[in-house]
């Protein structure tokens, strides 16, 4: 029987990891992720979870330990934030190209400097090319369920790609809300164990992590490129199976009043939740606005984004990360790339907001929509990227 608890997203993640019966957890404390692994260490200490909990001496080692255990065929978990993720950087690429189905939760936090413990997506966005499946969630329940989906997806024999489940530091990580806990028995029915090919095995002693020269390196990397192209469909299948088992599904994206929208807010994670209220309020005023929240961010489900975003007249992207020196934030530049060869495409604007944990309010989101509306009236984007809310910056 399932039961419902009021949990922080961090704890909701820990409960999911417990239900997934992971074998090895290695982690290093970093705000705002820490309470995930505190909770997991409690579960292990109390005998509620039969796993090896390795309290390592750095995030670099956390992911290294997890890679070693995963190479053996163990089900593994780690969690981090910010500088910790940056410290893991080289290993992110190694885990994906070694095709290890590691699952990691990331309570997104700004990167130094200035030192800041609060939310933005700079940490994961700086690693967005690392070949991991990257899913951004917008509630504790979704985080809980997505961890379970992540293992099912990562461990599929046609995928074998690590998965990062990302959620806003503090804004989600430390927010308590009702979560329906998926029990281990049900989860394991959804998530059976199977023997993975190419693991460290005494009977079949393989060499892992080879060196490849120019004659083979590209082909090895292409294997990952190919696996990633299969992810969107695979995640849809996983999501469908999840719905059959648990009655809830999330899809590759979420849309809200988007069908007939002229102005489409496009944003990830927690902001997308608040944005629904902004959409409702503006709809009451007669503004034809909607919301599109990508859930699967990497690999980009290109066809889906194209189809869903094309019908709007202007896209108001809200980016919670900066791409220094680029023409806009990461989400914006990704969307631009999706429409690179399309003549029929909406106007696009980027609003960089919520940096360093700056609150993004309903009022501000409404303001962003109104600014986009004015640009739409002009029919021409003069300034694609607005660093929204920076004191001393003039927008118009």
């Amino acid at each position: 029987m399932s039961h419902r608890l009021v949990l922080s997203t961090n704890h909701a993640v820990a409960y999911a990891v417990k239900s997934c019966d992971v074998d090895v957890i290695a982690a290093y404390p970093i705000t705002p992720q820490t309470t995930v692994v505190e909770k997991l260490s409690e579960f292990v200490a109390d005998g509620e979870l039969d796993a090896e909990y390795i309290a390592v001496e750095s995030e670099h080692t956390a992911l290294s330990v997890v890679i070693g255990a995963s190479a053996l065929g163990a089900r593994t978990f780690t969690a981090t934030s910010s500088q910790g993720l940056a410290l893991m950087h080289e290993l992110l690429f190694i885990a994906s190209t070694m095709r290890l189905p590691v699952v990691m939760s990331i309570a997104n936090r700004s990167l130094n400097m200035p030192l800041n413990i609060h939310c933005d997506y700079q940490d994961m966005m700086a690693s967005r090319d690392c070949g991991w499946v990257q899913i951004y969630v917008s509630s504790a329940q979704e985080a809980h369920d997505t961890i379970i989906q992540a293992y099912r997806l990562a461990e599929r024999s046609d995928i074998l790609v690590p998965v990062a489940v990302c959620y806003d530091g503090f804004v989600l990580s430390h927010t308590y809300e009702p979560v329906e806990i998926r029990e281990k028995e049900e989860v394991l029915r959804f998530l059976p164990r199977f023997k993975r090919p190419n693991v460290l095995d005494l009977e079949r002693p393989i060499t892992m992590g080879v060196m490849a020269l120019p004659d083979y390196a590209y082909e090895f990397k292409f294997q990952l490129i190919d696996a990633l192209t299969k992810v969107p469909r695979a995640l849809e299948e996983v999501d469908k199976n999840f719905e059959e088992e648990f009655g809830v599904s999330y899809g590759l994206y979420e849309e809200y009043k988007a069908q007939d929208a002229d102005i489409l807010l496009v944003t990830l994670g927690a902001i997308a939740s608040t944005a629904k209220i902004a959409v409702d309020k503006l709809r009451e005023e007669g503004v034809k606005v909607g919301l599109f929240r990508p859930r699967l961010y990497r690999p980009i489900p290109v066809d889906v984004w194209k189809e869903k975003l094309r019908s709007a007249k202007i896209l108001a992207v809200v980016d919670r990360a900066i791409s220094f020196g680029a023409i806009g934030g990461p989400l914006f530049t990704d969307i631009v790339s999706v429409f690179a060869n399309e003549s029929d495409r909406p106007l696009m604007m980027d609003f960089i907001a919520g940096i360093g944990g700056r609150d993004v309010t309903i009022k501000e989101l409404m303001d962003i929509v109104r600014m986009s509306g004015k640009v739409l009236q002009k029919g021409r984007v003069e300034k694609a990227c607005i660093y929204y809310g920076v004191r001393g910056v003039e927008y118009e």
Binding site: R4, F170, Y176, P178, G247, S273
Partner: protein, 216 residues
């Protein structure tokens, strides 16, 4: 189709309209927003979470979250609770609370403007203080209901330490309709180990009884 899938489908239907429990009516758009002011170590975050959990027991949608800087023990901290009949989508901070709870009276002097900031004119104020509500209201020039209780004395008396969160919850329970006192008690019983729960429940009950409500 197995029974559990059937049950899940039903649940999904409820979830889709934002109602958590079967049979619950949607009564308009009730939303209570509470802001807690305390000092690091007094348990403001836990109090915010207990209140939310208690409301969840009554089938409400809830949110409880802290506002962390890099605060340490003793530094002023804030926490927030939202209680609603509908799924709570707003993930921004609370700027216009219905209820403000002050866990440490000294914050009124040190941080008065912060404490009262945005509090709705018909809102309610709960203060850990040995002063009369009308004295506090006068001092703060606040026109709404004020609930006062000397939670520090109660905490020291019952728990032996000035951790006032469970005591102040007694005062909150007096001034708020949702959640009910019984729900708060149930959550506290589950949350703490038995001996700890017993003491905290005692502090809660004493505070509930001693709370005085008044206004200007």
């Amino acid at each position: 189709m197995t029974a559990h899938i059937e049950a899940r489908k039903k649940l999904k239907a409820y979830l889709s309209i934002g109602v958590l429990l079967k049979g619950l009516k949607i009564e308009g758009c009730m939303l209570i927003e509470v802001r807690w002011h305390g000092r690091g170590g007094q348990g403001a975050v836990t109090a915010a979470e207990i209140l939310a959990s208690a409301a969840a027991l009554e089938g409400k949608w809830v949110q409880a979250f802290p506002s962390f800087g890099a605060e340490r023990r003793g530094a002023p901290v804030q926490a927030y609770t939202r209680i609603s009949e509908k799924l709570i989508l707003d993930r921004s901070f609370i700027y216009e609370p219905d209820i403000v709870v002050v866990l440490d009276e000294s914050l009124l002097n040190a941080d008065r403007s912060n404490v009262l900031m945005g509090l709705k004119p018909n809102g309610k104020l709960v203060v850990n203080s040995s002063r009369e509500p009308h004295v506090l209201a006068n001092m703060l020039r606040f026109n709404g209901d004020v609930a006062a209780v000397d939670a520090t004395s109660i905490a020291i008396e019952v728990l032996g330490v000035p951790i006032v969160n469970t005591a102040i919850l007694g005062a909150v329970a007096r001034i708020i309709d949702t959640p009910r006192k019984e729900s708060i008690i149930e959550v506290m019983k589950k949350k703490f180990p038995p001996t700890v729960a017993e003491k905290n429940l005692k502090a809660f009950t004493i505070a509930y009884d001693r709370t005085i409500i008044g206004r200007l």
